[in-house]
């Protein structure tokens, strides 16, 4: 218990950073993922191939390697990112986007083909049909897979600990570095903090799923 009271300030700040990484990375991943997901289904072959290539390469690269490339290799090429936190958000966004794209694609596949055909019959172009007809409906079907992507993202933020970002996992390392006897209890508290964030957002997603399910 003293681990918690002695380091309250550090732990609160670290939880905030974990949430910032998750939300920032999640927002970036949502934008890139939506674009890549739609590109994978586009009528223009080169867009499809680019989208598929992005997903294949990113999904087969360990996140740690992606971190190494963004944090250590890019500065060698003259591209420096202002802060470690920003670099972590960009890495998490680029990485998670591949999984968002897959979720979007599976969501679109659940939409009845009549919807796309009706959109075309009304004279909507592919982009218009996607924007006004398909994606708004697909977003509902996409909630459960996106929930697991989000949970994976929250857990993945822990990897930023190895790259200069003081989030929850890094703060635990700092605590038991100073007080080696507290390793077990510190890690248990950190695990509990992740459990709260993840089970909490899982509950939120379930509420969202039920509400959207009714609206359908």
């Amino acid at each position: 218990m003293h681990v918690l009271t002695d380091n309250a300030g550090l732990l609160v700040r670290a939880s905030g950073t974990t949430l910032l990484l998750s939300l920032g990375g999640g927002a970036l991943a949502a934008i890139i993922g939506l674009l890549v997901g739609v590109a994978r289904m586009a009528p223009v072959p080169i867009l499809r191939r680019t989208g598929a290539g992005y997903v294949e390469i990113i999904r087969n690269t360990p996140l740690t390697v992606a971190f190494f490339i963004i944090v250590f290799v890019l500065p060698q090429l003259g591209v420096t990112i202002a802060s470690y936190t920003l670099a972590a958000i960009i890495t998490l966004g680029i990485y998670t986007a591949a999984f968002v794209a897959e979720a979007v694609r599976s969501g679109v596949n659940t939409i009845g083909r009549g919807q796309a055909e009706a959109a075309r019959a009304l004279g909507l172009s592919f982009a218009e049909g996607m924007r006004f007809i398909i994606i708004p409906q697909a977003l509902r079907a996409v909630v459960p897979p996106l929930a697991s992507v989000w949970i994976a993202l929250v857990k993945n933020t822990s990897i930023a600990a190895g790259f200069g970002v003081l989030e929850l996992t890094a703060s635990s390392q700092r605590i038991f570095f100073l007080d080696p006897a507290s390793v077990v209890s510190t890690l248990l508290w950190i695990a509990a903090a992740y459990l709260v964030i993840i089970l909490g957002s899982a509950f939120g997603f379930r509420v969202l799923e039920n509400r959207l399910g009714v609206a359908r």
């Binding site: 289904m41 586009a42 009528p43 223009v44 072959p45 080169i46 867009l47 499809r48 680019t50 294949e56 390469i57 999904r59 087969n60 690269t61 360990p62 996140l63 740690t64 390697v65 190494f68 490339i69 250590f72 290799v73 060698q76 090429l77 003259g78 679109v108 083909r113 796309a116 055909e117 075309r120 592919f126 049909g129 996607m130 398909i134 949970i151 929250v154 857990k155 993945n156 933020t157 822990s158 990897i159 600990a161 190895g162 996992t169 635990s172 390392q173 038991f176 006897a181 390793v183 077990v184 890690l187 950190i190 695990a191 992740y194 459990l195 993840i198 089970l199």
Partner: protein, 287 residues
């Protein structure tokens, strides 16, 4: 992909537009490549000696990367076997008719799925020795990876088994099969082929997860690459980390390819079986 319901097959005008987009994208990509290449060249990154280090045995780089690669494969292979076994056992526990067993396995699975792997690995590396359990580094990595991935695999197995039509279980029940026999002879043989794609993508994730071993000091592929960068200086980081990434991507791609081959082979054999099945009534029987 040409059968997508999202758009009609392209007409002449659409084809022309698609070609224009393709050419435009090609020009832009070429421009980007040239710009990046000039930038890399001005930084001396394209010097062939920089890249030769990846392949020249005299620098020791290929050997170190190879050792790291073997260590990664070793940890991943042990972890895959263990995680599949433990995951199946957990799934059986979650599907048990005894509620205490369901409760315990459910709590274990939900708990391990919600904790970041890195925290689990710090626990196996630093927490367990405190509790009087000293493991070798491979086992530290394998234990954490198994703890996490077996819970994920458990959920894959469980949903795969639950997706099998209920009539199958009921029919097997009616025939008087024991529950273990129903699972082994009726449910799993039908569920596993369907689960194969999800299962392989999880095994790819498992292989990628072993790269976290670098945090606790297990010299796998990523850590070997990193120590080489530390030894040769950070101006080689592009070449070395790119080499590491290519090794990971190639291995994972091979796993996915293998899974695709397995799936197609199964579908093939099923199809040929079913055609031979329809042959029987077609042969005219003389009375």
């Amino acid at each position: 992909m040409s059968t997508s319901f999202l758009y009609d097959p392209l007409g002449p005008r659409g084809m022309r537009r698609a070609r224009q987009v393709t050419v435009g994208a090609g020009v832009l990509t070429a421009l980007g490549v040239v710009l990046i290449a000039r930038r890399l060249d001005s930084l001396g990154q394209l010097d062939h000696r920089r890249w030769a280090i990846l392949f020249d045995p005299e620098t020791g780089v290929p050997q170190v990367l190879w050792h790291g690669y073997i260590a990664t494969i070793q940890a991943a292979a042990i972890a895959m076997a263990c995680a599949l076994a433990v995951g199946l056992i957990l799934a059986i526990g979650r599907l048990s008719v005894h509620w205490p067993l369901r409760l315990v396995t459910g709590a274990v699975v939900e708990g391990f799925r919600s904790i970041p792997l890195l925290v689990l690995m710090l626990f196996t590396a630093l927490g367990l020795p405190r509790l009087g359990l000293d493991l070798s580094l491979v086992h530290v990595v394998v234990l954490a990876v198994v703890a996490y991935n077996s819970s994920v695999l458990c959920e894959i197995f469980r949903s795969g088994i639950l997706a099998i039509d209920k009539g199958q279980t009921e029919a097997a029940d009616a025939m008087g099969l024991r529950r273990s026999l129903i699972l082994r002879k009726v449910l799993l043989p039908q569920a596993i082929p369907k689960m194969l794609p999800v299962l392989t993508s999880q095994l790819v994730i498992l292989l990628k997860d072993t790269s976290l071993g670098f945090v606790v000091g297990y010299t796998e592929l990523l850590r070997s690459g990193r120590s080489l960068v530390e030894y040769y200086g950070s101006q080689y980081s592009l070449q070395l980390y790119l080499g590491v990434a290519v090794l990971y991507i190639a291995t994972n791609f091979l796993i996915s390819l293998f899974a695709k081959w397995l799936t197609s082979r199964q579908q093939h054999s099923r199809r040929s079986k079913s055609t031979s099945g329809t042959d029987i009534p077609l042969t005219p029987t003389r009375l």
